[in-house]
Amino acid sequence: MVADSPMKGRRRHLLALALAGGSGVVPVLPPGAAQAQMPTAPPPLGSGYALLVPKATQGAPVRAGRVTVDAPALADNGHSVPVRIVVQSAMRPDDHVRSITLLSDRNPRPVIVKAWLGPRAGRAELSTRIRLNGTQRILALAEMSDGSWWSGQADVVVTESACLDGS
């Protein structure tokens, strides 16, 4: 699947060309303007979470800490990246993790998994294998029984295959 932001950028570019062609005017650009038309660098890692996290916590404040995200710094393939999330918690009836949410700000759907545990889990830990739409920072949120939210994150570089596979 293709991330939509570069496509949008290209579409805008084509639109600009079409408009210029249609009006019969060759646009004369001031020096430096051409550079502004070049595809821009991707936004910094994790920049999407300013919007995604409040949505996931319904506006509750989030503190960094108590959540560890284990993922390879260099993933073999974006189709399957092993991830382990561990939350520090006593996991007692009066003090436990209610839920764990794993988010991606570069995947088309930001919520990768949300799990509800409760004190019967005994241990606040979740492992799975995920898809990543390219290099990014993944972020995990933990909701505690006292209503507080905590977060942890990991940066994953996703490598490309050497050969295109048309099989």
């Binding site: 699947m1 189709h79 399957s80 990246v81 996991m91 794993l102 991606s104 995947n107 088309p108 759907r109 919520v111 990768i112 998994v113 949300k114 799990a115 509800w116 545990l117 409760g118 019967r120 889990a121 005994g122 241990r123 606040a124 830990e125 979740l126 492992s127 799975t128 294998r129 995920i130 898809r131 990543l132």
Partner: protein
């Protein structure tokens, strides 16, 4: 749908033990095209629930960001010997379940 579930050989009363589950499922994202260029409909296992002797002990909502042939590992505790039942359902409404007897030792 083929499923594999694994729990440890020895489960201690009240001590957390890990449950591992792997399900053969394409986890179709809804973003791929077939050979004629049509979008392949999204179909992922969206819910997985674990019950122990009928009591829900774990629930996960999965998205298209979970890899094909989903694998999950999580932890639960057992107060006594019983049956762990795992059940799941995908976007096409296909459901599956697996029952695993658990013998608790002191």
């Amino acid at each position: 749908m083929v499923v594999r579930v694994r729990i440890p050989d020895i489960v201690r009363r009240g001590q957390p033990f890990d449950v591992r589950i792997a399900i053969q499922h394409v986890m179709e994202t809804g973003y791929r095209l077939d050979h004629s260029g049509r979008t392949i409909a999204r179909n992922v296992i969206h819910t997985l629930v674990a019950r122990y002797d009928g009591v829900e002990v774990y629930r996960a909502e999965l998205g298209s960001g979970i890899a094909a042939n989903p694998y999950l590992q999580f932890w639960i505790t057992a107060p006594a010997s019983g049956v762990l039942e795992l059940s799941w359902v995908d976007d096409a409404g296909v459901a599956g379940s697996e029952r695993v007897p658990v013998t608790v030792r002191d």
